[in-house]
């Protein structure tokens, strides 16, 4: 039987985290009322003059550098004409002939060692509005809040061979982009969308087979299923002696199959031409060097350095660096109070749980390195027990409270007053003669009861190890 391999290339659209749109000063905020963030420019009114947002160029250059691309120092925009209500101008301003960056490379770890994916190009373009199809009224509703939100499109070479590699590549891309602050890459909000170019060929064949393109995927799970489903569909056609058609398809995740949208013959004629409303971009070397210096330390490097500098495990380093916010919080706190294992523990176990329970993103945490280092100090000096520390930590994450103030206000500090503890312990022994005699007869369980009674009498604020010592002395 013949064996086949799947060949995959991706076009990844990423919405940039700018405050304003690419060509006008409308806000890019997500989740506003429909058509609240619009103006004559992003509504394509005749005579409106678009002006390029400089930060978009900064972000695109930085991304190009992070992906090891060559920056195209003289680049410009092109007009892509199409008639569809999601863009009221009837064209999209994009880059075809001179994309801002070309020929890069991304490397990541897989179970089978390092994998390197070529980047064909990276270009800047504007996003389009959102269409809602109202089936009752037989009309389509349009929201132009997204029209003119800046995008970069990252086009890979057909270097991926499996859904696992695709997911690893996307993980790496979104980690790098979030670390740079270029995009939040939230797939569920549509700030990262993926077109999959997929073909199959007999193992050992070096020619590319006919490919299909699956448009607009926005979840890792659906991407995985689409690749597996479409790859199988193509292989089945080949086994039956059929031919794969060069066409655009849509993945229906409910039906778990791809559906034909249009063939190559029906492909649109975009009549691209150089955009005259936007002045060309000339990028001097100084601009590139400046942005190069500003590139952050990325996750893979951090994972290695955290193990070395803070003596934590690779697993811990991986969890802590899953977002730059958590990684920075860990590192800045550990610099203020040198107890990295404790910091790592709290952040990894409690921090991650709090994020999950409250549906928060790391940037929503109201914790500061200063407040967290205070709490770590209090734990270290035995001024607060672990259970209470967790509760305080949660308050710090959600409400930004200061741990010392909070403890004082709610009387959570541990009582280490030997004299006071002795008095309470004596009273407990008097009140529980049965337990005392049981313990003396060798029932260790009875001792636990006495500790529990003492802790209860102290409202849980006593240091349990001190209570242990005192009780043993007194008996």
């Amino acid at each position: 039987m013949k064996r086949y391999e799947t060949v995959i290339g991706l076009e990844v659209h990423v919405e940039l985290s700018t405050d304003s749109k690419i060509f006008c000063d409308c806000s890019t905020r997500f989740g506003e009322k429909p058509n609240a963030n619009t103006c004559p420019i992003c509504m394509g009114m005749p005579g409106a003059l678009p002006i390029l947002n400089k930060k978009v160029v900064d972000y695109a250059i930085s991304t190009g550098l992070a992906l090891n691309c060559t920056i195209v120092k003289n680049c410009m925009f092109d007009r892509k004409n199409y008639f569809y209500p999601d863009l009221p101008k009837a064209y999209q301003i994009s880059q075809l002939y001179f994309p801002i960056a070309r020929q890069g490379r991304v490397t990541f770890n897989t179970r089978d060692g390092n994998k390197s994916i070529g980047i064909h190009e990276l270009h800047i373009e504007e996003d389009a509005g959102k269409l809602l199809h109202d089936s009752d009224k037989k009309v389509t509703l349009v929201d132009y809040n997204r029209s003119g939100v800046p995008l970069i499109e990252i086009v890979s070479e057909p270097d991926m061979r499996s859904a696992d590699e695709v997911v690893a590549y996307l993980d790496k891309l979104s980690s790098m982009l979030s670390y740079m602050g270029v995009s939040d890459c939230k797939m569920q909000e549509g700030s990262m969308r993926v077109d999959i170019n997929i073909s199959v060929r007999e193992l050992g064949d070096t020619r590319l087979g006919s490919r299909t393109e699956i448009k607009n995927m926005n979840s890792f799970k659906a991407i995985r299923r689409a690749i597996e489903g479409e790859s199988k569909r193509q292989i089945d056609i080949l086994i039956d002696g059929g031919q794969i058609l060069d066409e655009t398809r849509r993945w229906d995740d409910d039906k778990n199959k791809s559906i034909r949208m249009r063939s190559k013959e029906e492909a649109q004629d975009y009549r691209y031409f150089p955009e005259q409303d936007i002045a060309p971009i000339e990028i001097p070397n100084e601009w590139i060097h400046k942005l190069h210096r500003l590139l952050p330390e990325f996750r893979d490097e951090k994972i290695i350095r955290f193990q070395k500098d803070y003596g934590i495990s690779e697993y811990d380093a991986r969890v802590l660096t899953s977002s730059k916010e958590i990684a920075d919080l860990f590192e800045d706190t550990s610099k203020l109070y040198n107890l990295p294992r404790e910091v790592s523990n709290l952040l990894m176990v409690e921090g991650m749980r709090i994020l999950k329970d409250n549906y928060l993103d790391p940037e929503d945490l109201r914790l500061t390195p200063e407040s967290l280092s205070k709490l770590i100090g209090m734990i270290d000096r035995g001024e607060i027990n672990r259970t209470k520390a967790k509760a305080v930590f949660e308050e710090m994450c959600l409400k930004g409270v200061d741990p010392e103030d909070y403890m004082k206000r709610y009387g959570l500090e541990i009582i280490n007053d030997d004299k006071k503890l002795r008095l309470v312990a004596l009273k407990v022994l008097e009140d529980n003669p049965q337990s005392v005699s049981d313990y003396k007869k060798g029932k260790t369980k009875a001792f636990g009861n006495l500790v529990g009674q003492t802790m209860k009498a102290m409202n849980g604020k006593a240091d349990p190890s001190l209570v242990n010592t005192i009780l043993k002395e007194l008996i």
Partner: protein
């Protein structure tokens, strides 16, 4: 290069022109004359000429990334032939 009737109709379609017979004949003729003119220009040797892809000498025209609220929304909304519950309404479109 002559534009075929088929290609002519395709272009008219893309730019959303609906033409009557006389207009079609006239425009098709005009278009072909224009192409003849360009054919003549093609005879000039331009191998050493850098293509002009932008007519002005302007370069690097930017705005800073600051969002402001222009509040012209009501005017914009009023411009639309049909507007409902905050949305622009267009004839139903299916992919």
């Amino acid at each position: 290069m002559k534009i075929t009737k088929e290609r002519f109709n395709n272009i008219a379609d893309m730019v959303k022109l609906s033409l009557i017979k006389e207009e079609e004949t006239k425009l098709n003729k005009d278009l072909n004359q224009l192409l003849d003119f360009i054919e003549t220009m093609n005879e000039i040797d331009t191998d050493d000429v850098v293509p002009m892809d932008y007519v002005h000498s302007l370069r690097n025209v930017y705005r800073e990334d600051i969002a402001t609220d222009l509040s012209t929304k009501e005017e914009e909304h009023a411009n639309a032939p049909d507007f409902m519950d905050g949305y622009y309404v267009v004839p139903r479109i299916l992919e």
